[in-house]
Symmetry: C2
Subunit: 127 residues, 2 copies
DNA sequence: CTGAATGCAAAGCCTTTGCATACGG
DNA sequence: CCGTATGCAAAGGCTTTGCATTCAG
């Protein structure tokens, strides 16, 4: 694995972010350090970093992929009132998968994508 | 609401499907009945039907939207090998939400969007 | 040195849209 | 009749890719 400046800065910027930026936003962030970087390089490196397991590639279904420097497995909670997205810390504690269920036994589960929506702690306190 | 032949056939084809086809597949299905239908019309009607709540528009993050004639709330299982998408019959049986968990108690849960991925029954049998 | 990574630009894929025409109610 | 829906084709947004050049190890 080759450590180019482009690759290094892209990873650094992404780790700094906590808000799941898209490729275009990462491109603009990195351009502050490397003005001549190309969008293609950003895409190639994001792909490379995701394939190496150093970042995560997400899809919230808005037509644009999002990237996450936090590679710990975690899901997302979206508040329908204030519209913030917070990480769900331990999905398996909150919604444990029943390993003994026949449906589960018939398949091999690699993982899941979960988004819970409702009112966050702050917004539900007011109701 | 205007019932054109195109709209009718698109809805009928989609209700017949159980495998969450993309717009291109629906286009090809409908073309058997209406050979001169345009792809634009298919997209416009899928959008219209989804907005009217008669079908559901899904996004599994493969770059292509999928459509579902089954509007009952249900989740999906995606096989990473054969790429089919099947319905999860009773999510609450397989992954029950722990109502007593502190994280849950602090929030008001309206619903969730869940996608489990892995190998389907057929594909996992061969491994 | 040498192959992997880059910049640039063009192309690809899915989807949306503008416009004149057709057609449902 | 009238306005919505259609067909056609062009354009749009995001992403990928081909190619010559540069650069890390």
């Amino acid at each position: 694995m080759r450590i180019t400046n482009q690759r290094k800065i892209i990873l650094e910027e992404l780790i700094k972010c906590s808000h799941h930026p898209g490729a275009d936003e990462i491109y603009n962030l990195v351009r502050k350090s490397i003005p001549r970087i190309s969008l293609g390089t950003v895409y190639r490196n994001l792909e490379f970093l995701a394939a190496s397991g150093m970042i995560k590639k997400l899809d919230f279904g808005n037509g644009q992929k999002r990237f996450d420097g936090n590679i710990e497995p975690h899901d997302h909670f979206r508040c329908v009132n204030c519209n913030t997205i917070e990480d769900i810390p331990f999905t398996m504690d909150i919604m444990p998968l029943d390993e003994n269920h026949m449906w589960v036994k018939k398949r091999i589960i690699y993982g899941m994508r979960l988004e819970i929506y409702g009112l966050c702690a702050a917004c539900s306190a007011g109701k």
